[in-house]
């Protein structure tokens, strides 16, 4: 490395070249480099473990339970944990553990478009992805062009932010009707202003860099500059923000389900499980409400820990 500046003889050049070959990182090493940031922080490891637990049980749900989520055993309603039903049953005798992990599926792994057509990627995940696409595009346009375009976009988004989130969710869901697709739309609408603000502020910084000027002097298309020159350099904060937003989305899904505006029954949904179960808390069987509450809390906490740990480590890394 040191000899490269003025490597005059072919020998020296070759020697220097070789050293670079050795230093060149493979894909595996780069992946490991990314993971090592996670492992450097204890907080992030705990968060990752919680999130991975839910992802794995959700993906392999049929392997973790002998019962289906809709299977009723009306001889044993509202039971506490036992050997046959490890977390107990609800008022219709459905296995809670089974409903819990099938519920995680809807959140994290599969999204029902219609009753028979499911696409990969959970409802919360899709909500955040669509919000990211819309929010990042608006933020890039506002931040890069500036001027009155920026004013219009940001003022409109500010107006949206002024409406309380719960109210916004309820209005959207009441207008559109309860379905997984509409939950995604609601999450998108609610998440977009925040993401747009974040991306805009990052864009304002990055667009002053000289490589952006270099692209401009090449006469590059503004879309190329926004999506290929600016966006990749904003990815760190965006990824961390997206993790937090998945947490918020899960929370929002729980809220909507609880209010009866989420994914319609009988599909296993954590929010609606809590809503149904709460009627029986005072009758001596709190289990049906307890477990989905813990599930929501643990997953959101896990995602927050992961995001916090990553942010801290990546800042130290710089």
């Amino acid at each position: 490395m040191a000899t490269l500046e003025q490597a005059t003889t072919p020998d020296e050049m070759e020697e220097a070249t070789q050293r670079i070959e050795e230093a060149k990182p493979g894909i595996l090493r780069r992946l490991w480099g990314g993971l090592s940031i996670v492992f450097a922080s204890k907080i992030a490891v705990v968060g990752l473990a919680i999130v991975l637990f839910w992802v794995i049980v959700a993906i392999f749900a049929p392997l973790f339970t002998p019962y289906g989520p809709l299977e009723q055993d009306w001889k044993a309603p509202n039971q506490g944990p036992s050997a046959s039903h490890i977390l107990g049953t609800d008022e219709l005798g459905r296995d809670l553990w089974s409903r819990l992990i099938y519920g995680a599926r809807v959140v994290l792994v599969l999204m029902p478009i219609t009753e028979n057509f499911w696409i990969p990627g959970g409802t919360a995940i899709w909500g955040v992805i669509v919000a990211l696409i819309v929010g990042a595009t608006l933020g890039l346009i506002g931040g890069y062009y500036g001027g009155w375009i920026d004013e219009i976009i940001m003022r409109l988004l500010d107006a949206m932010m002024a409406v309380p989130i719960i109210l916004l969710y309820m209005i959207i869901m009441a207008a559109l009707g309860a379905s997984a697709v509409n939950v995604v739309i609601a999450i998108t609408i609610v998440g977009t202003p925040g993401i747009a603000r974040l991306v805009r502020s990052l864009t304002l910084d990055i667009r002053t860099r000289e490589y952006i000027r270099a692209a401009e002097t090449r006469g590059e298309n503004p879309w190329h500059i926004m999506f290929f020159e600016i966006l990749p350099n904003a990815r760190g904060p965006i990824i961390i923000d997206a993790m937090l937003r998945v947490g918020y989305a899960i929370f929002a899904m729980g809220t909507l389900g609880f209010l009866g505006l989420g994914i319609p029954p009988p599909s296993p949904d954590w929010g609606s499980m809590v809503a149904k179960g709460r009627e029986f808390i005072l009758q001596g069987s709190p289990w049906a409400a307890l477990w989905p509450s813990i599930a929501i809390a643990s997953l959101v906490v896990g995602l927050n820990l992961l995001a916090d740990g990553l942010r801290e480590e990546s800042m130290r890394y710089q």
């Binding site: 000899t3 003025q6 003889t9 350099n233």
Partner: protein
């Protein structure tokens, strides 16, 4: 400055064989090793070296500001006879700001922006001495007067952002002098300042040194600056002191190969690419973890290296009573043959005097930025519009295959000129002809063929490359975009370009963060070359690089110009570098070109008074050169409301003596262009015959 070092002066600071380590996750790292020097009363010791050589670590070590992970491992630091190593934080706190004071690089950060300057100054006194606030206030006023601050009473009640950078640094210096300290440590105090301001601050430091008789340590990377202020020099390399001795002796007779290399790699003011060549030092300063403990630390970059150098770390060789060098061949280094090949000097260049075809010409170019007014009326678009006249009526030509250098202080419109040319800022008025095509349109409306012919090299190596993409894909992008090579040969073309900028093909897959500053700048040059432009615009391409790397990049640009035959516009604030690199030079002041002509003519009389002042401010790394002292008063006026008549009249040092009626005409009428020989033109009221009678600024004394 050149008086001999007398042993009678008291030694204020005695640093003896100090080693400083930093604890890191990978274990201790040696930052400083084997540093010894003495500072006497009324004497300035200069510490020079490239970045990462440990200059600042020494300064911080003296007052133990090393942070939680730094510690002094061995050696002693004696201040006025008392040992400082191992003193408690409390005791050191009493010394700092009282007996030892420091001046840092960025005055903006040294001053508290939310406290009035007077309060900050007075606090220094009331904190250490038992005196009343009124007395401290009065003393602060006296000290500000002492550092030639205009309008002192007013400045005392202002905040730091309300005064200019040069004045801020004066306040910081005043603050450092207030308690009449025995030792002042200055860490790059002038690096952030413009050349004319820097010259005035250096004059002030020289004056204060004589008056206050304090011992000074002056840290800088700039050999020219150190030549102006120091009596004694310590050259640092990779944490070691490699050579120390009286300033004049080191400049005349350097004995360590690193010192010799440093002196050979900066152009002297007046050097030109036609008659001399810069010799870069190969490689770069190794990071602390990679420094060898068993061989000479400079061996990997040394041109005289032999097997003996790799056997042990060399000790100091005595050359004269005061002059030591850490090289086993110090005594005979001048006579030794190079063990590594130097790049051979290029063949004689034939200078063609035939006037060449114009590639680019500006006529009356104007770039104005509208200034938002804060009044309510302007909200409705009815207020009077104000403009920042960044470039105002500039006309200049660039011939094919030649280089135009543009110089001037910051804020004079160099960058706006270039932005207007390349189409990043809208041109307000005027004509720009490039290869006979009108190019006043913004870049988005230009034809691809035109865009391709004009490319840019940028200043900051850390932001010139997109950190997310590999070097190869970034160079390939313009090739694909302008279709300079067929689709399937893009990679070959990239490798060719990498070779042209002397980087191995394996750089193709590397990311920018794996590259050093000089390497990044080379990739930036390769990217600009990829479209085979006729005109390359270099916006301060070397000012952010270390001197040894700077020389390599300048040589590369010269070579590329010969091979590709491109014209260049070279913007820089370093007049020596511009002189070295350019064929023609335009001097800009406040949005206007005040002097333009062939490079050698600019640096000889007749001068425009502004050029003369700029030249006399350039720090020259040679104590034998005598330079006129012309210092400009005041600051560059605002471009929002430039002075009437000649824009330079508010600061012009010549108009009073050379024009009748004390130069009243300069305040009323804009000056005319006057022609000298060979296309050399000056924008001034003073008759050219008068200007021609002025002595040259730089005068080489007989050694």
């Amino acid at each position: 400055m050149q008086e001999t070092r007398t042993a009678t002066n008291n030694v204020v600071l005695d640093v003896d064989n100090v080693q400083i380590n930093y604890e890191t996750r990978k274990g201790d790292v040696e930052a400083i090793q084997g540093v010894s020097f003495k500072v006497r009363e009324g004497e300035t010791v200069g510490l020079v070296g490239e970045s990462g050589c440990g200059k600042s670590t020494i300064a911080f070590g003296i007052v133990n500001f090393l942070g939680p992970n730094g510690k002094i491992m061995e050696g002693s630091i004696r201040f006025q006879g008392d040992e400082l190593v191992g003193r408690s934080e409390e005791e050191l706190k009493k010394l700092r700001g009282d007996r030892i004071s420091m001046v840092f690089q960025d005055p903006m950060q040294a001053l508290n922006p939310s406290v009035r300057l007077g309060e900050q100054l007075a606090e220094v006194l009331t904190c250490h001495k038992d005196i009343s606030h009124e007395e401290a206030w009065q003393k602060s006023i006296d000290m500000l007067k002492r550092v030639n601050m205009p309008d002192v009473e007013n400045v005392m009640t202002r905040y730091s952002h309300q005064i200019s950078g040069g004045q801020q640094q004066r306040v910081v210096i005043a603050m450092a002098m207030l308690n009449n300290p025995a030792l002042i440590i200055m860490d790059e105090p002038t690096t952030a300042l413009d050349v004319t301001v820097e010259a005035a601050v250096l004059d002030l430091l020289e004056e204060l040194k004589n008056d206050f008789n304090a011992a000074n340590i002056f840290i800088t990377h700039n050999l020219g600056v150190v030549a102006r202020v120091s009596d004694y020099l310590c050259v640092m390399y990779a944490g070691q002191m490699v050579e120390s001795g009286p300033l004049v002796e080191i400049f005349r007779d350097p004995r360590h190969p690193y010192t010799m290399g440093l002196l050979a790699c900066v152009p002297r003011l007046g050097d030109s690419k036609l008659e001399s060549l810069l010799h870069p030092i190969r490689g770069r300063v190794p990071p602390p973890a990679e420094r060898s403990k068993t061989e000479c630390i400079f061996a990997p970059r040394c041109e005289y290296v032999t097997e003996d150098c790799r056997k042990a770390r060399p000790g100091f060789e005595q050359i004269t009573s005061d002059h030591v060098a850490r090289c086993i061949y110090a005594a005979e280094i001048k006579d030794r043959a190079h063990t590594k090949k130097r790049k051979k000097a290029p063949e004689e260049q034939v200078v063609t005097e035939i006037p060449q075809e114009d590639l680019l010409s500006f006529e009356h170019l104007k770039v104005y930025y509208p200034q938002e007014s804060n009044s309510v009326i302007s909200l409705f678009g009815m207020g009077e519009k104000k403009y920042v006249k960044a470039v105002d009526d500039v006309s200049v030509r660039v011939a094919k295959g030649r280089t135009l250098g543009v110089v001037g202080e910051s804020g004079c419109g160099k960058s706006s000129l270039v932005k207007g040319l390349i189409g990043l800022e809208p041109v307000t008025d005027g004509e720009v002809q490039f290869m006979g095509i009108d190019t006043t349109k913004p870049v988005t409306e230009r034809d691809t063929k035109l865009i391709k012919e004009m490319q840019m090299v940028f200043q900051n190596p850390d932001s010139t490359l997109n950190p997310s993409f590999t070097v190869g894909s970034q160079i390939a992008r313009p090739i694909r975009r302008f279709k300079t090579a067929p689709r399937n040969q893009v990679k070959e073309e990239v490798v060719k370009l990498l070779k042209a900028v002397r980087l191995p093909p394996t750089f193709y897959d590397r990311l920018p963060r794996q590259l050093s500053g000089g390497e990044k700048q080379r990739v930036g040059i390769a990217r600009a070359l990829a479209s085979r432009p006729d005109l390359i615009i270099c916006d301060e391409p070397v000012s952010a690089l270390d001197v040894s790397v700077q020389a390599a990049v300048i040589n590369l640009l010269l070579e590329i110009q010969q091979v590709f035959g491109s014209s260049m516009i070279f913007i820089a604030h370093d007049l020596s570098v511009v002189r070295f690199f350019s064929d023609d030079i335009a001097v800009m002041y406040l949005g206007q070109i005040v002097e333009v002509g062939p490079a050698d003519a600019i640096y000889e009389p007749p001068y425009h008074p502004y050029t003369e002042a700029l030249l006399s401010a350039v720090p020259i790394p040679d104590p034998d050169v005598e330079q006129k002292e012309i210092r400009l008063s005041g600051n560059v006026p605002s471009a929002l409301d430039p002075p009437s008549g000649c824009r330079f009249h508010t600061r012009c040092p010549r108009r009073h003596e050379l024009l009748p009626d004390e130069g009243k005409i300069c305040e009323k009428e804009p000056p005319p262009w006057q022609d000298s020989q060979r296309g050399h033109r000056i924008l001034c009221h003073i008759p050219i015959e008068e200007l021609a009678k002025i002595d040259p600024v730089v005068h080489k004394a007989d050694p």
